[in-house]
Symmetry: C4
Subunit: 275 residues, 4 copies
């Protein structure tokens, strides 16, 4: 969907996952150091969490695929227009393919954490492949469009391929908090940048259009991308700080973190509702 | 051989190896975890298997080289046409060179697993080099052809260089099941994509030709490549599931896996016959 | 600030840090081997040092940002010129963004070494990101300028991306003296190259201008870059030699290194004053 | 020196080192496994060998630099021709710079193995830098020449950057026989390719010139490069086989390998004389 909503949808998905990760990983890290107080750190609890995460990913991917296929001007599962002798709605099909691989990654997550027959690192490998495929399709996707349009999408590729590489490294360094936070920050960057692309290419509310060929617009957008990343780092840092502070406070009070975890989940659902 | 058969031949080689690996590596992984029941896991058995695999690789490479050299319009080992003062049949010679390196890799496999004087990781290093050389030659191979022709070959390079990198990593992480399955999936992708190239560039049965300069064809082909990979992942996953299920059933029955292994080999030969 | 001072300022920052590192890392390495004599090697002392270093980095970044914003022809925090309907002073804003990320890195350094809640490797990760962002912005920064101007900036990218990669590796190999010395040499290279860029593009004292389109100038500048690196390696080697010699002499005399450390700090401040 | 000798000289240097390494590393590997019989494996002996190797490297680099500077049409240490207001003999200066970094690497080798104050991995790091600088200068070196000329030099870069990467990995995996053999094969490839470049661009004995713009020449040369590598792999394999066989025979006879080592050195010097 080459319109505002078509960028806001994936943007929201990435933002939700990024913000969730920015709570989950610091929480796990803090719990690992203070084993007594956290019931969160239990193996069964973590596994259940991973399964829920995988299922959410798969559902998001399904929503994305259905949206791309069955919007009014979508392909409705029709790939080849035999009357006009040409492919129909290739853009929507490409987006569907991107969602498909995230869906596979979600399913693999569920399988990995429900059975013991599969090596756990497979979930990271598959996520890395999904992210790489997204970048791979984007790379050819924007061929032949206006300069600014191409540029904003290519900038996205830095986050995408950076993320794919980071997740691939996690196959070998599983549970490395540095890589997990790095991935989180790139995920939030991707999410917020999708929204930015929507605002730049399809100004909502009939705002003024951006001059697609203006060189200074390109320079500004590149810099803007860095600001998004600084902002993304800030979110990760703030959430890290809050989570660590809460865990340490709990540790002193000797209370269970169970409740806190529930709250954080609710908060997550709230942010989901907002978007 | 720039025709349908010239792409179907290597495609079949890669498919056979890919499907074989998608049985072998899950089998070894399942056996490692259930050591009692598997006679497959024995060191001598595995070594013999590696030698057979190496010999098969070398034979396939030899068949490929002979086919490229002695087809009716081939070079018949003649490199320079001194009458016309120019190189003759450079394409066939380039293909022969690609096969040559796979042949070397096969020979190195055999040597590695028959003598103890050679470090074992050499087999992966040599395979990585062979795959890299294939990609290296392909990269310059397609210089100056039609757009779609170039594009379908360049897409192949993603699988080829990805494979070379993955195998190079195996030099340091030998026996890592994640890397082995990743390599397997890329190998199947290469095999099926060779068939796809054949169908696109030389439609068999006098089908309609593809418009080589149509931009939407390029977009479709890129997406199609991703579908091939999704399909390849499916094959690996299904075979992994079957193998794991069989091993676990056997484990319960306490029977030897010897018979199963024989069957899997037969199945492989069947699929070889089909192609 | 596209003038001589605008290049001399960051150049001096990098030189100061590079030369400081070329003393610090050999000193720590020598002390680790001769634990008895060095009070420098104490954990608390090292931590305090890291905090001072982080604070210095943050202050340098702040100076850079203020200089870029409030020079007479600077943007004075104004981003959009609504009269002329275009972005104003984008160059200065880009430079400010580069400094911003180094500033974040400095702040993260301080946080990392004052609290135990944050994994230590975060400081390297953030520095790696800061260096990468510098390179990323430079890459698009020079779009559309004269050939020599582009070339001298692109050469810088080799040191920048090399540095980013090296620091990223330090996340996994923290305290590896080889990587630390390599980073040091690249940092000095960057510093001296910024000065060189200033001299080439804005010859001070009304010297003769360089012909921006002359091919032989490009060849010379490329070679000159290598000489700068050879020079940078020499500085690192000489400082390494002096530090090691001093530590070994002290070891024999059994004196504390405390004094020496103080001196090295003073020496550093001197070189700061000079620039 | 843009002539046949200017390519034969570095080619010979690389060949000598490559062939020497193809004896040294298998010898060390075989000796490590059969510790009793080899006096070669002694620490002091190995260290002395490394020092000799470093000194040889430095001397070769010095010969190269002097040759580039003081050939009849060389720059004779003059960099700027102030009469014609342009740089003089930039090519020779670039070659000198390449040799310079190999010289530094040789000196670093000597320092590393004579004192204990320097971490040993520095020798690999410096060699990696030297190889990278060679590739870096070559990349810009060939700008604006004829197609075939550019192509044969760019092909060289595959071996050069591959070698730089391989040696960089050795910093972390020192003594890994796979990487050492890989480096050896790339070194021989570089050596033989320098000779090939000489024959292609400056056919000795007044042979027919190659058509620099013929596309099929480019295709042939690319393939030829692969054959050189196959040949290089063969040399490494044969030398590996001979060395291993000799060591195993000696082991049975219980004789010292001292004599064998002397012979191999003499053989090396012979091949040096020939060239």
């Amino acid at each position: 969907m080459a319109n505002f909503k078509g960028h806001a949808l994936p943007g929201s998905f990435f933002l939700i996952f990024g913000i969730w990760w920015s709570i989950k990983y610091p929480l796990r890290y803090a719990c690992k150091k203070n084993k007594k107080v956290c019931s969160f750190g239990s193996k069964v609890g973590l596994q259940r969490l991973e399964i829920i995460e995988g299922a959410t990913k798969a559902v998001f991917a399904l929503i994305g695929m259905i949206a791309e296929q069955f919007v009014p001007d979508g392909p409705h599962l029709k790939l080849y227009n035999s009357e006009e002798k040409q492919w129909s709605h290739l853009m929507n099909w490409q987006h569907s393919t991107m969602y498909l691989f995230y869906g596979i990654s979600g399913v693999v997550d569920i399988i990995t954490h429900t059975t013991k027959a599969v090596p756990v690192a497979i979930d990271r490998m598959m996520l890395s492949i999904a992210v790489f495929v997204e970048g791979f399709l984007f790379y050819y996707h924007v061929h032949g469009r206006a300069m600014l349009d191409v540029h904003v999408h290519l900038l996205l590729l830095v986050a995408v391929f950076g993320g794919a590489l980071c997740i691939f490294l996690e196959v070998f360094h599983r549970g490395n908090i540095i890589l997990e936070l790095f991935r989180t920050s790139l995920c939030i960057l991707q999410g917020s940048w999708f929204w930015q692309i929507g605002f730049v290419l399809y100004p909502p509310g009939g705002g003024p259009e951006w001059d697609q060929m203006d060189h200074s617009n390109m320079l500004f957008i590149t810099m803007c991308y860095c600001w998004h990343y600084a902002f993304s780092l800030l979110i990760v840092a703030v959430n890290y700080g809050i989570v660590t502070w809460v865990v340490q406070t709990k540790m002193k009070n000797g209370e269970s973190l169970e409740m806190e975890l529930l709250k954080s989940r609710e908060r997550e659902e709230d942010s989901e509702d907002e978007i």
